[in-house]
């Protein structure tokens, strides 16, 4: 007989793996409202802890934060003495590609997306908090974005990204992330979105193939936290 804790983990995994809908052929789901919208939970994050551990004792870094500007993240990062580059990349995805995920293969739109969101000189960033944004990008857009991030980041710098750990989930909630301290964050669900592709460890190693190393932290909340070293 399984201990209660283990059973609850299995229960959560199976709930997330069967969202109640299947991926339609040739297209994705529209973005839909989350039933947990505006519900905020506090979570410990090994990935976040590792990210800040890697830049400890250094000030004056340029940190990219794709969660959208929030008082908490700005305060936390600037109090550490860093400069923050902030933008709401999920919102930018909607602006550039609209509700149809198939548009994420449009080369012209991908180019527009990169120009409007990642138009910085090479080596601008000493760290990047990507949160869960990458998992909502289709393969073409994801590869182009990761390639651009590689150019924009300093060698030996780190990026933090989150991916759903369910290999079968065709959609996943997107979140707002607020930093509480170097290993704790507040997470609020924004909406439910189609995931761009399946993200398992092997795929992620391939996506970040140009980078020096990829380190995974598997959490209980069906979340794969990834620290990537440029």
């Amino acid at each position: 007989m399984l201990p209660e804790k283990l059973r609850s983990i299995f229960r959560r995994e199976s709930e997330s793996a069967s969202p109640g809908t299947s991926r339609p052929a040739g297209g994705g789901f529209p973005v839909r409202r989350s039933q947990k919208k505006d519900v905020t939970v506090t979570r410990q994050s090994r990935g976040l802890e590792q990210f800040f551990f890697n830049i400890r004792d250094i000030v004056g870094l340029s940190i990219l934060d794709l969660a959208g500007a929030s008082q908490e993240n700005i305060n936390f990062l600037t109090n550490l003495g860093h400069k923050v580059y902030s933008q709401d990349i999920i919102r930018s995805l909607d602006e550039a590609f609209g509700p149809d995920p198939a548009e994420q293969t449009n080369v012209g739109r991908i180019d527009y997306f990169l120009r409007t969101n990642f138009d910085y000189p090479p080596g601008t960033f000493d760290g990047a908090l990507l949160w869960d944004s990458l998992q909502f990008m289709g393969p073409a857009l994801l590869n182009a974005t990761v390639e651009r991030l590689y150019e924009l980041m300093q060698p030996k710098s780190y990026l933090l990204a989150f991916f759903s750990s369910s290999d079968r989930a065709a959609e996943a909630p997107s979140h707002n992330f607020r930093i509480v301290d170097n290993k704790t964050m507040l997470i609020t669900e924004r909406d439910i979105r189609p995931t761009g592709q399946v993200f398992n460890n092997r795929n992620l190693e391939k996506v970040f193939g140009k980078f020096e190393s990829v380190k995974f932290f598997l959490t209980r909340e069906s979340l794969r936290e990834v620290i990537v070293r440029r």
Partner: protein, 148 residues
């Protein structure tokens, strides 16, 4: 009873459109369209909910309720309210951003230089007595002669 506003505020109404440089020595409220630059070094600049600004802004304090595209430099504080939209880089000492505001750009916090504490009155160094210099007697006489 609210305290009456004592500072003068210049206003650009929502039906006004300005292209060019604005320099003001009083607070400024912009609810119209401005393209160019806005400078008000020791004062507050407020971009109202109808304001649409494509300009760099330099002021002591900047409050944004409308839309701004341009860099913002505030010696004291930048305040971005709900539903405001700012695309540009911010340099300031303090920043406040409400949920629902859209910001795209960088934030560089420059801590204000602490004002020096009231420094003790500078002590004027007493003039050092002139070193005695050996002067030839003839030269001394000449100088005295000139004084006369």
């Amino acid at each position: 009873m609210p305290e009456p506003e004592t500072r003068n505020t210049a206003t650009i109404g929502k039906a006004v459109k300005i292209n060019g440089q604005i320099f003001t020595k009083e607070d400024l409220y912009v609810d119209g369209d401005v393209e160019g630059t806005i400078e008000s070094h020791d004062n507050k600049v407020t971009i109202g909910p109808n304001g649409r600004v494509q300009a760099g802004i330099r002021a002591r304090e900047v409050v944004i309720l409308g839309q701004v595209q341009g860099n913002v430099e505030a010696s004291d504080k930048v305040d971005i309210r709900k539903d405001a939209k700012l695309v540009g880089d911010i340099t300031t000492s303090r920043i406040s951003i409400e949920d629902g505001a859209l910001f795209k750009g960088s934030i560089d916090i420059k801590k204000a230089e602490p004002k020096p504490a009231a420094a003790p009155a500078p002590t004027v160094a007493a003039p050092r007595p002139a070193e005695p210099v050996a002067v030839p007697a003839a030269s001394t006489a000449g100088a005295a002669g000139m004084k006369r």
